[in-house]
């Protein structure tokens, strides 16, 4: 269970950009259906909160946990240091260490753009694409093909007492209302029939698909060289070069 006094969130309301690439465009190249279950966590070890228990830096910590997951699955796990997360939170979200008034969290799209252009601890993704989070197959594809999916959740207060995040019996109202706790950014690193699993506050948390459908507000797949590069086989045959070319066309 999560003690809300010992953790922080930090995702601000989403900002959408019509130029953001969408995953659906590329799914035609993926010849097969996503597997029923995917789990990228067995090789991940020594999970830590990456400062998200003391600062509202979830948008940066989520990228750190993705880097850890990608590299662990190539048997060369890299754990992004707390000092790198702090530097990233400062650069991407304007946090000034020692000034709590600047601990205001971040917008996922802005942090993704910073991640792609500047990088976190020397790790810069090639690109990211928006994922239609209301389409479960797309979400599964993203997790399977990209080694994870970065999602923004409108956490309800009811999640604070849950070992597994589920929609409360009364539905998404009252303590179950979307965002009644706050906005949060987590990397989804696996899924099964009952739901996806994310990393947050240094641990794995499973949520139900019902919870995902009710509370997730935005989702992105990130294509990173730590996961697939021209020198290494792209997982599941994803067209790495095509995605990179399209990104150059749009963003220059």
């Amino acid at each position: 269970m999560t003690d809300p006094t010992r953790v922080r969130l930090g995702r601000r309301p989403p900002r959408f950009d019509k130029r953001t690439l969408r995953l659906e465009r590329y799914l035609a190249t993926a010849a097969r259906r996503p597997p029923a279950r995917v789990d990228w966590t067995p090789k991940v070890s020594l999970l830590g909160p990456m400062l998200n228990t003391s600062l509202g830096c979830c948008t940066v910590s989520a990228k750190g946990h993705l880097i850890q997951t990608w590299t662990a699955n190539h048997d060369r796990q890299i754990i992004v240091s707390d000092s790198a997360i702090l530097a990233g939170y400062t650069e991407a979200c304007g946090y000034v260490p020692g000034d709590p008034t600047t601990d205001q969290g971040g917008t996922m799209l802005d942090v993704l753009n910073w991640f792609r252009k500047t990088g976190l601890a020397g790790h810069k993704p090639f690109a990211y694409v928006a994922v239609n989070h209301q389409n479960r197959e797309n979400v599964k594809f993203a997790i399977n093909l990209f080694g994870g999916c970065d999602v923004g959740i409108m956490l309800p207060v009811s999640a604070q007492g849950q070992e597994v995040w589920a929609v409360p019996e009364g539905g998404a109202v009252g303590d179950g209302a979307p965002g009644s706790w706050g906005g949060h950014d987590v990397p989804i690193v696996g899924y099964g029939l009952m739901g996806p699993t994310c990393i947050t506050w240094g641990k794995l948390v499973t949520m139900t698909w019902g919870f995902f459908k009710t509370y997730v507000e935005e989702a992105y797949a990130i294509l990173a060289p730590e996961w697939a590069d021209v020198d290494e086989p792209a997982p599941n045959g994803f067209e790495l070069e095509q995605l990179k070319a399209d990104l150059v066309t749009i963003t220059g």
Binding site: R136, E163, A166, V167, G192, L193, M194, G195, T197, T208
Partner: protein
């Protein structure tokens, strides 16, 4: 070429006629999980997870979804929620008790 009775019968009958095209658009067959549609399955998972976490009996949900569906959902929980020891412990205990 020798005509066997079977070949001769086929020649006389001619080629089989093609099947008529289906009327109207073909509806995709919804994929079932635990024998029920996705939305029902998701709802059942939320109810079962919440009941187990709150240490409530599952009888009420068995009446709504059937015992087989609830059993299937509880088995999924054991498989998929391996990072939740309290929930999976209660799920295993329920499976054992409901044998």
């Amino acid at each position: 070429m020798r005509f066997t009775p079977l070949l001769l019968a086929l020649v006389i009958a001619g080629c089989p006629k093609p099947m008529p095209p289906p009327v109207g658009p073909v509806q995709p067959v919804p994929e079932l999980t635990c024998g029920v549609e996705e939305a029902v399955h998701d709802e059942a998972v939320d109810h079962v997870v919440t009941a187990l976490l709150n240490q409530q009996p599952l009888d009420r949900w068995e009446a709504k979804y059937t015992h087989d569906v609830i059993r299937c959902v509880v088995e999924e929980i054991v498989l998929d929620a391996h990072d939740a020891p309290v929930l999976t412990g209660r799920a295993r205990a329920w499976l054992e008790a409901s044998k």
